[in-house]
Point group: C2
Chain length 564, copies 2
């Protein structure tokens, strides 16, 4: 229901409502007039002062938002002032959040169960209604949304492969959403389309393809990028499947490691191969594909009359951070004429590091590569690229030549209209934040970030490898920032190996994790793997993390786990 009285977000003592009426202040008093010259020869200038600011000075005024509504903002008449005031209030909320994100005296999260949030935490009502809410209430809703969320940029948030809050990336996202355009044509995204093209070329250069030649596109995530790779491989070897369907091809099989990301199997299911035709490869103790097993399974598949098509080598597996031996796999792919894809969603970032890029040796032999800057490189989600060695094959695979969008008779070079290579139509601008971060950090900035994260994971490994109460899931220095370990509470340390110990140990990580979340101090992931019971998987991609945060995590695990 509409109301001009905002529901308080924290009871009577809640300071949020008080925040809504700031004293009068002045903001950014400067002349910002942009006299833009007409640049195109022969351009008819209809506009008296195009692109110029009449008055770019801000004043933050004491605005009463309780009687203002969305309909009072631009494009409403006289909407400029409330619009700017409203956006500045939002910015205040967000910059406070940014500061707190990096403040170790704040919690990573303030956990509540779904039913608690659904019941409405202290007036935070998630239900939608027919009538509008005042802008004052909208500001309170924004504060509450952040309050009950998770600070993924907090120095002690280690829960996912994507962590951290990069300020340049954040600025890039704010600009992207303000520009609010679509990647499908040069016509409406000229700058972004070119940035994507140049950035993809740079990424292909780092992979090692001659002159950075090839193809590629940014997609909405690693799973979709991996799906692209399977589609392109199929198109390369059996182009008639595009028009005639899978019945035009023999029974095709795909190979990927048992440690690889589940998106390869998902792609197999979605694209009509069937998940059973995604053959899982055995790995060594460290989670790396055993090349001999690949070759044996290729031979076996051929003997059964199936047609091997595609091999995925993982560069940085999700749980162990393992790098499959790409060169050895590439030898086998060449021998049997198979498409080689490298899933570097997690490990691709190591290509930016002179110290660590050797872990992807052979990646230049791949036919396609997935690389998610939103993981190891700290770019805000979503930012994932599928890179392809052969030029033109993406368009060949996906184009449908929609006349309403990709007119051949435009006045500019329409090869810059990239939309028809995509399986999407509209496509979000994922490139700008990444381009801006690359500009701001340089390649060396990404390198430093990656080297630092790998150093930190080695610090963690060295700290716990011989520490009482810890057991590593696999031996040796981790290849990526993944450090996998069991914490053995004192009560389990003397217990003999066996089912009872396994069952008890299996419950340790979930219990510690639940307590961590409820105390809000830190977050780290856990999972079982194969026959191994639940263990912690620590990953470091957060630029804010330091050795003291690693120490804190270990202290916290021991504090919470000592009585289990």
């Amino acid at each position: 229901m509409a109301t001009s009285e905002p529901r308080a977000s924290g009871g009577d003592q809640d300071p949020n409502s008080a925040n809504l009426r700031p004293p009068t202040t002045r903001f950014l008093q400067k002349n910002n007039s942009l006299d833009e010259k007409g640049r195109l020869a022969g351009q008819k200038n209809l506009l008296s002062c195009d692109n110029s600011d009449r008055d770019a000075r801000f004043r933050l005024t004491e605005t009463d938002f309780s009687n203002l509504f969305a309909r009072d903002l631009l494009p409403a008449k006289n909407g400029e002032e409330p619009t700017i005031q409203f956006l500045l209030e939002i910015v205040e909320i967000l910059t406070n959040y940014v500061k707190k994100t990096f403040d170790r005296s704040t919690k990573v999260l303030d956990f509540h169960h779904p039913h608690q949030l659904l019941e409405g935490m202290e007036g935070f009502n998630l239900e939608l209604s027919d009538q509008p809410e005042s802008l004052e209430q909208i500001l309170v809703d924004c504060r509450d949304t952040l309050k009950y969320g998770v600070r993924t940029g907090h120095p002690r948030f280690f829960n996912q492969l994507s962590t951290g809050l990069d300020i340049i990336g954040l600025a890039g996202e704010w600009l992207t959403s303000t520009a609010n355009t679509n990647m499908f044509t040069y016509e409406i995204a000229p700058v972004f389309v070119l940035m994507e093209q140049l950035t993809l070329r740079k990424m292909r250069e780092m992979i090692g393809w001659p002159d950075g030649e090839g193809d590629g596109i940014f997609s909405p995530g690693g799973a979709i990028s991996n799906m692209y790779s399977v589609m392109i491989a199929r198109y390369k070897y059996f182009p008639e499947v595009k028009t005639k369907g899978m019945s035009a091809a023999p029974r095709l099989v795909l190979f990927t490691s048992e440690h690889s990301h589940y998106s390869i199997k998902k792609a197999g299911a979605a694209l009509g191969f069937g998940s059973e035709n995604v053959i899982l490869l055995s790995t060594d103790e460290r989670g790396r594909v055993i090349p001999a097993d690949l070759e044996a399974k290729i031979i076996d598949a051929k003997q059964k009359g199936y047609v091997p098509l595609f091999v995925n080598a993982t560069a940085g597996s999700t749980v162990y951070g393992a790098f499959d031996p790409i060169n050895e796999i590439a030898d086998i792919c060449e021998k049997y004429n198979l498409w080689l894809h490298v899933d570097g969603a997690w490990g691709g970032g190591l290509l930016m590091s002179r110290k660590h890029r050797h872990k992807l040796n052979g990646v230049e032999r791949a036919n396609s590569v997935t690389w998610n800057p939103h993981k190891m490189m700290g770019v805000p989600l979503q930012c994932s690229a599928i890179l392809v060695r052969e030029k033109g094959i993406l368009a060949g695979c996906n184009s449908m030549c929609a006349g309403y969008l990709f007119q051949p008779d435009k006045q500019y070079d329409v090869t810059y209209d990239t939309g028809d290579k995509a399986i999407q139509c509209g496509r979000h601008v994922d490139i700008f934040k990444f381009w801006l971060m690359w500009k701001a950090k340089g390649t060396i900035g990404f390198e430093q970030h990656i080297d630092k994260c790998l150093d930190l994971s080695q610090y963690l490994y060295n700290k716990i490898k011989n520490r009482e109460g810890y057991q590593m899931v696999f031996d040796g220095v981790p290849q990526h920032t993944n450090v996998c370990f069991w914490y053995i509470p004192p009560g389990l340390r003397g217990m003999p190996e066996g089912d009872e110990r396994r069952e008890k140990l299996h419950r340790v990580a979930p219990k510690i994790k639940a307590m961590m979340m409820e105390s809000g101090t830190t977050m780290v992931g856990y999972q079982p793997q194969g026959t191994k019971v639940n263990f912690f998987r620590m990953v470091i991609s957060n630029p804010a993390a330091t050795q003291s945060d690693i120490d804190f995590l270990i202290d916290e695990i021991e504090r919470l786990g000592q009585d289990l």
Copy 2:
């Protein structure tokens, strides 16, 4: 190359560099301390003052960004002050852009060819390098990015189905990118996951499914949403395809109109059906499917031994804005036991309007519906939902049960972990901006927006239907906001029908469009359709557009086209 001298974006007169050193001002001087109470019983409070601001007062200081770099921002030591100052500079750039977006005295775009932008417009260098750039240069890069882009929110931008710059949606996107989390688990996106759940339910209620029951997910766009619908239909009738592949099913065929969006055909190609097995249905003069043609083609397919699986009915076609007769199509789908999908990517928004929702009569009989709030409802891109009547089928179709992400032994109700229903793994938060807009406008706000856009398109239709020099592509009042017409320049008006006139007329719209883009005054789309030569397709989804903007467009077409 790194440089502490920023490249100017507009020569010596460029005001951008001058903008970088504002006089000292104070911003948002208010006390913002948030004393957050520990709410969970038994919670161990390790943190002295979690979530509180020590000092939330901003001062915009005279910051010299020429010697500051990304590495000086948070999490750097003493990084807080430069971080806030940098973000405030960005906000100044963005709020100026917002103001100019709604200012009719500014241009919609400042067009340049790809080679011009690639050569570096007045110092705007798109190339990436190894060394970092100063924050001063980064701010200039941000200004330049906007300067050479397209103002999709401008009142005279009519080029796409997604137009407009909604201020609440923009605030929502800024918050989303600051929160920078991932939809796959409740664990790291508790509030957003619940918002998605409640919003999807509300959308299902508007479709008319009992109690809003069913399933659904937000996807990265309408093409992916439509792809989901085909996958789910296949899983419903031939679940074994998930594991065994398309060879486990007979030859399946899909039906969609010749006017439907190309994503249905793309999905057919990608998912292994083959684009030839996507059978195109004939339409009437208005672009609506002829039900008898559907039935005839179903019978024909069955006689050939194929198995009809899926029918797509379009609610709001891309070019004509046509609504297929859903009830009649649903009758046929029931008779032959076929999956009925309604692609309401463009027209779904009309469900919010009591006046226009009848155009989707029968939508409640669909098995699945695509509905893109980022089109007719003005939500920033990307925001698309796939809604499904049968509960649980999305998860059945897509789940792979990855242990590292979807642990069954979490402390909360893990049915809220939605990631395994998706074909994605990581998933961008597309819900918040939409939820916030719904809160701020209410259902009635969306209704008013939609009614106004449809009124405007009728105004345009009435204005040109009998006007000299115009010819409508089809007769009658448009069903949606699409108004399709030819402009006939004076020189062609007396010309007899025939190939010469057709060829000349085919070149008119591209020429006018090119001149429009070069003068930067307005943008509208054109395309051919079937045997019809290039015509303008006007669409109105921009809340900033008024009758005077429609008048302007017509004047502009006549001004630019009079001598063709």
